[in-house]
Assembly symmetry: D2
Homo-oligomer: 147 residues x 4
Amino acid sequence: MDEKLTDGRKEFLSRDFVQGFPAHVGYTVENVQYGCFETRLVIEPRHIQQDGFVHAGVMATMVDHSMGYAAFSTVAPDFRILTVEFKINFLRPAKGRELTCRARVIKVGSKLIPTEGEVFSFDGTEETLVAKSMATMAAVPGRKLKP
Amino acid sequence: MDEKLTDGRKEFLSRDFVQGFPAHVGYTVENVQYGCFETRLVIEPRHIQQDGFVHAGVMATMVDHSMGYAAFSTVAPDFRILTVEFKINFLRPAKGRELTCRARVIKVGSKLIPTEGEVFSFDGTEETLVAKSMATMAAVPGRKLKP
Amino acid sequence: MDEKLTDGRKEFLSRDFVQGFPAHVGYTVENVQYGCFETRLVIEPRHIQQDGFVHAGVMATMVDHSMGYAAFSTVAPDFRILTVEFKINFLRPAKGRELTCRARVIKVGSKLIPTEGEVFSFDGTEETLVAKSMATMAAVPGRKLKP
Amino acid sequence: MDEKLTDGRKEFLSRDFVQGFPAHVGYTVENVQYGCFETRLVIEPRHIQQDGFVHAGVMATMVDHSMGYAAFSTVAPDFRILTVEFKINFLRPAKGRELTCRARVIKVGSKLIPTEGEVFSFDGTEETLVAKSMATMAAVPGRKLKP
């Protein structure tokens, strides 16, 4: 369904993804399709928790932000996305060189957009599924959002 | 039930909380009791998302880490804590000067520890509940964790 | 905040609660307040799972339905409630004579209503917390719902 | 990976699935593979909620029980399964003639088993995805379970 997304919109979404907290943590965009976002993080010491693994919050933020932008890719340009809620299961402690996240919209909607996403660790040789998430995203008219 | 926690253990937990990713984001510890952790974040521009609100990942990481340490305060010193899963609902967009998080253990357990936590924003005058979370934490013997 | 609920509305909600699947399972209403619903189930052999405990689905249905009606008690009479999503943690295997469920609205809203609920088992002497849940309910204009 | 499941074990799991509350509601087994369970429900008036749709609890119970047995199919015969927690998103109101549920294990584990499941409605012509769930199941030695 990728023909639904213009090159201009893809570029906007890719640029818009990397700002504020996600830019601070270091996530980057790998691939954008209508309803799908693939992102990446090179693991650094600042991403680690008390036992030497990637912090759960690093994976939670990654999958939340990627699911949000997967939803963002399906709405009209005057709509913005807020996370209503998400849930994440951690399947094994995460370590390695990089994380990859693949997020997708489960059902396109005009107001509520259910999404899902997976986080994989990569040690230089193979990918391992480390976390899986489901979320409810809300599409909100931009004019209604005044911080 | 606070008599169960020695001053030394409280100091260890308070210090141990602030390292790696949570130290990088800027969370601090306000209060530690047996089964309870209260934490704080002074909101800075790097914590913001694309619409000017506090990023969902900042709140998710805060409540995950605080719930983890609430669980950590109930186990024997040779045990470590890993997040099995958590779920978080965002009740309204978060803004203001600070976030406060209050996390507590729902039921003390030897292996699985259910926890809950709330995140409040503070604008200088009053606190507003902005997110609520529930998690399953796992107590794991330290010797079994080798990153 | 109970003055917000007329006796007529309370009676309607109490009656409306017990129909279809919830009536079939056997849940009854104990107490109704604005934003709160307390319900009850006398445990019978048909509510049990393969190991002799109350089935997780019996508790999940109870807390979902009770949270839904807690939300229902806060909306205008021409609105109906649908469950967007819920999450439930089971704290210990449930057994005994009865279950009690206490559900409440976390934040009153015009479209999305976050709720929470707890399920207690009762063995004739004391109550034990056996499950805890959080949900997102949606208020939908009745005219939009055509099965 | 189906060779891991003997015909005897498949028959046991199929029979064991239909008892207590799930038998009372009317779920049946369609297909059993190692780590996978497919189940079915013919929708009757007793499964309906106040607006004429299938009750959320009917779908939640179906996917919980099916995910539990998907996990059950991966453990040694002296182990039993308890639900630690699950989360379910409802994508649209469910109606029609039948529900089908497909549940599978995300990662085989000796103690905690993450699972996922989808519920589809069937109107006689086509299947529609109506709910999606993720859970944490616990494998517990049978001798430790005394109701």
